[in-house]
């Protein structure tokens, strides 16, 4: 059973993420600690959801926050909110780790410094606060056909391609493509439609 877990965060708070990220540029450890306290649970939950191993997940979370500390200038607050960017970075790192593990069941020591682009939040972003959006996302996903939901989860949490998902679910490739596309559109419409 999947549950909503992200730390409630409102971009209109007095001490927004963008201010704290600016603190990182000044090498302010206190700003880093506040950012960690605000988002470490969300990042850890996501990474653990991908890797399923607590020790490996903590290593990746450590990598993610150190990358943030050392590359804070790469986040452009004018392009979009901070948390989706941080979660995209964490997902990329966790999937890298997962792919390597599937090859050797071991962990690697090197790091890629590739940081994702900052996602641009759509106009309807403020339809919900974080907590309600989490509930909404879970409800919308549960409303999908079980295999359609599973296809999206395999892509998001395991990094599988359309072809790999089709093989895993023993469904035609075209069906899987359609499931994923329509499932994401339904999610978008569900977040867009309610205010």
């Amino acid at each position: 059973m999947f549950l909503a877990v992200l730390t409630p965060t409102d971009s209109r708070e007095v001490s927004p993420d963008a201010t704290l990220v600016r603190g990182l540029l000044q090498r302010d450890v206190r700003s880093f600690e506040q950012l960690y306290d605000r988002h470490s649970r969300a990042v850890y939950s996501l990474v653990l959801g991908i890797l399923r191993q607590a020790a490996s997940a903590e290593e990746v979370v450590q990598d993610v926050f150190l990358l943030l500390w050392r590359n804070a200038g790469r986040y452009d607050s004018s392009r979009g909110p901070f948390l989706p960017w941080l979660l995209t970075l964490a997902r990329n790192r966790a999937l890298d780790q997962l792919r390597l593990k599937s090859e050797r069941q071991r962990r690697r020591e090197d790091q890629t410094d590739e940081l994702p682009p900052v996602p641009h939040a759509p106009d309807f972003e403020h339809n919900f606060d974080e907590k309600r959006r989490a509930e909404r996302v879970c409800a919308l996903m549960v409303s999908l056909q079980p295999k359609q939901k599973r296809a999206i989860e395999l892509a998001y949490f395991e990094g599988l391609s359309h072809t790999e998902i089709a093989a895993a679910l023993k469904e035609p490739l075209g069906t899987v493509k359609s499931w994923i596309r329509t499932g994401l559109m339904r999610l978008k419409e569900g977040l867009q439609g309610a205010s």
Binding site: S45, G80, Q105, A134, I152, S161, I180
Partner: protein, 260 residues
């Protein structure tokens, strides 16, 4: 359906990372050609995909992780370390790519194809090199742990007489390495999980990595950063747990080794 509509339908799966290589390359070429409509849609699709993180089950990182991170960040702040961690050879590769692009600019169409292929090859080569460096570093670390005289040898006798003994080598700075042979394969939805038993009275076992043996029964567990230092641990234990891991042991230990 127009060519543009065809690409537009690939945007969300592209942000999700689920496109197969062929479609991904075609869409990237379309984006590089400057389609502003698709670029804007991609920005928003990335936000949409990030919302899927809400599906992850709730979990809380350990306080040890926060302490370790803050320690590292404070050390960084004191040393004035800056952000650039890009090795010189990557800058070299970038410069070479640019020179190549200028040189072949006389034929724009042909150059586009050539640059794309060269970039793909370079990226694959860089990725392969990075991967090999990681593998080499890992192998070197394992070898150092296994051979360094400062490593402490810990035998983990089995609870059942028909099971083999595991052997651990623990180096305070480089990590912990546990090896064994002829290990029975756990059921498909189960895995072996390592636990560190703290010395302090009443402290709970600390969960560490999970692993399944190789199909031939060999077992090699490498823990680069154990969640606790050797001097604070009195024993290592391995239990069989659900494949997703467990915050505390749910079955009797299969192997236990005392840390001297």
């Amino acid at each position: 359906m127009s060519e543009h509509d065809k690409f537009r339908e690939l945007i969300e799966p592209y942000a999700l990372g689920s496109l197969d290589a062929g479609e991904r390359s075609e869409l990237e070429a379309h984006l590089r050609a400057g389609c502003s409509d698709c670029a804007k849609a991609l920005d928003e699709a990335r936000w949409l995909v990030a919302q899927l993180a809400y599906l992850a089950p709730e979990a809380v990182p350990s306080e040890i992780l926060k302490g370790r991170l803050l320690q590292q960040v404070r050390a960084d702040a004191r040393s004035g370390r800056h952000s650039s961690r890009i090795p010189l050879w990557i800058w070299g590769a970038v410069a070479a790519s640019l020179l190549f692009a200028f040189y072949t600019a006389w034929d724009a169409r042909q150059t586009q194809v050539a640059i794309r292929k060269a970039n793909e090859s370079a990226a694959a080569a860089l990725e392969q090199q990075k991967h090999l460096r990681g593998e080499l570093a890992l192998a070197r670390r394992e070898a150092m742990i296994l051979t360094d005289p400062k490593s402490v040898k810990i035998l983990l006798p089995p609870s059942a007489s028909n099971m083999p003994v595991l052997e651990a080598m623990w180096h305070e700075k480089m990590g912990l390495c546990i090896t064994g042979r002829n290990i029975p394969m756990p059921p498909p939805n189960r895995a072996l999980q390592l636990w560190l038993i703290p010395k302090s009275a009443g402290a709970k076992p600390m969960p560490s990595v999970m692993l399944r043996p190789e199909p031939d029964g060999t077992f090699m567990m490498m823990v680069s950063n154990p969640p606790e230092g050797m001097h604070n641990v009195k024993a290592l234990a391995i239990t069989e747990e659900p494949a997703g891991g467990s915050p505390q042991p749910t079955s009797p230990p299969l192997w236990v080794g005392t840390v001297s």
